[in-house]
Homo-oligomer: 298 residues x 2
């Protein structure tokens, strides 16, 4: 498998397992797609599905899942703790291997157009696919939630990128867009003083003048009694795991504190860790095709 | 592809491209096997073929290649600069993924037995598969080369592990065995004083009291005018790339010298570099199945 696109759609159903299974089955049955994971949250009444594969196959699976969601989910009766605006609430496309961001953006537009044209659902393009800067941030796009969409779609500057200007009452609105893979990386400090973690988090994140593609917060791990700097690196090709780590290590020393250990949560692209190995080992020239495992499926 | 075995047989033919192609074709046509690379050296009159795949398929491909080599190569007329004792001179089997060393040893015995029984070629098991300690080292096994094998096979303690005690004159003798993947790792120093690289090499290698699974030598890179510590890490799971690197960095400082950069030559198992990333980033708990790419083909 040479080219890999990842897709992580969120659906507004987390209680009726049978409906969730029907949606997931649409992903499973597309050739060239591998279902990596899916999980449902009853409180949020929401499910997240993760799959990867050849780009065209991934788009096909995403569309089929959106179609099934539009059949089995009724937004007029949906309740749950998580902000939402549609049956397939949001569908990010993430380039993993031999897919450029530009290609992922094109694919997101193709998917959005199909959802608009064939399912009659209004679609906003978001993140890297956004047609205007104010549509980049999902929270802004989704503001007003399902209940506010009828009015939002008709308000100035918020016409949908695809699909009808009239709200599809049963299915709501979907956000579709391309984004970088996210690396969830936490660093634990040799202190129970959460204020130190919070101070470091403020300094490392973009908002505080730190790294441009880093979101961070400080918290206390109650079970271990350790303060933690918890991060989302939203573009590891620009803000790397090792730069974030070294910044925290140095900043912690300022308070007389050391790094105890760190953790990567969930899936991580191989390159995010290979880049760290190359940097620490000072390997100047290295082609990732030298990694034996990458040669097996070309 | 869940389980991966690598095989890197060396054949005593490096001048007649057509014969080499015939041997390589035997590897190519086995289902479940991926040919990664092959190259021929005219001076050595020798070719190296690298392939990987599902263990049973790899053994099948190795046997078929050995059979073809026994047909197209005639050792009675072979000349070349590299030590050799047979048509398929040596065939290492290397566990890469979800294959234990014990399994690789069993597979090497199965392969050796087939070569002995079906092709009538004498086989010595070497490296981890060796039936006696003195057969572990290939150089010792091959001592006397093709020309000395008729006598060696009949001498005390050197009866073959498989196949006839009488030399197969056309095909010679083959060494078959399991070994760990080898990582070729070089570190360049901020000096043109090759004596410093030689002194560090002596200290880092097993022979000098250094790391148990490290072979090393010091040399001068003429084009860059930099001294280099050139290493073979013969078991990166016990002597890691990062420990070797940190040892050299520290030892170089003793001479007032820094590390300029380093290089990995050829293919490297993903884990050798992931282990480095984990160590430097102090990631305590990490399951390699968190690497997105590893999830695609299970």
């Amino acid at each position: 498998m040479a080219r890999i696109l990842e897709c992580v759609p969120n659906f507004s159903e987390g209680r009726d397992k049978e409906k969730v299974e029907q949606i997931v089955e649409e992903v499973r049955k597309v050739k060239g797609v591998t279902l990596l994971d899916y999980s449902s949250d009853e409180t949020h009444n929401r499910s997240v599905v993760t799959f990867v594969g050849e780009p065209e196959a991934v788009i096909e699976a995403a569309f089929n899942a959106a179609k099934k969601a539009s059949e089995v989910i009724d937004m007029t009766t949906h309740q749950g703790g998580h902000p939402r605006m549609g049956a397939m609430d949001v569908c990010p496309l993430i380039p993993i291997k031999e897919v450029t961001m530009e290609e992922a953006i094109e694919l997101s537009k193709k998917l959005g157009k199909r959802i608009g044209d064939e399912l009659g659902i209004s679609v906003y393009l978001y993140e890297k696919s956004a047609s205007k800067p104010e549509r980049e941030n999902l929270a802004v796009v989704r503001k007003g939630q399902y209940e506010g969409m009828e009015e939002k779609l008709k308000s100035e500057g918020w016409e949908p990128d695809f699909g009808p200007i009239e709200l599809n009452k049963k299915s709501g609105v979907s956000a579709v867009g391309a984004r970088m893979p996210l690396v969830a990386f936490n660093v634990n400090l040799s202190t129970d003083n959460v204020e130190i973690a919070k101070a470091i988090a403020k300094k490392i994140r973009a908002k505080g003048g730190g790294f441009a593609y880093c979101k961070a917060m400080g918290l206390l791990l109650e079970d271990k009694n350790l303060a933690q700097v918890s991060m989302n690196l939203v573009d590891y090709t620009h803000t790397s795991v090792y730069h974030a780590f070294e910044f925290i290590k140095r900043e912690a020393l300022r308070y007389g504190v050391n790094v105890v250990n760190s953790e990567v949560i969930g899936l991580v692209p191989m390159d995010a860790l290979l880049d760290a190995a190359k940097w620490y080992l000072q390997i100047d020239e290295f082609d990732h095709s030298q990694v034996l495992e990458t040669r097996l499926h070309d």
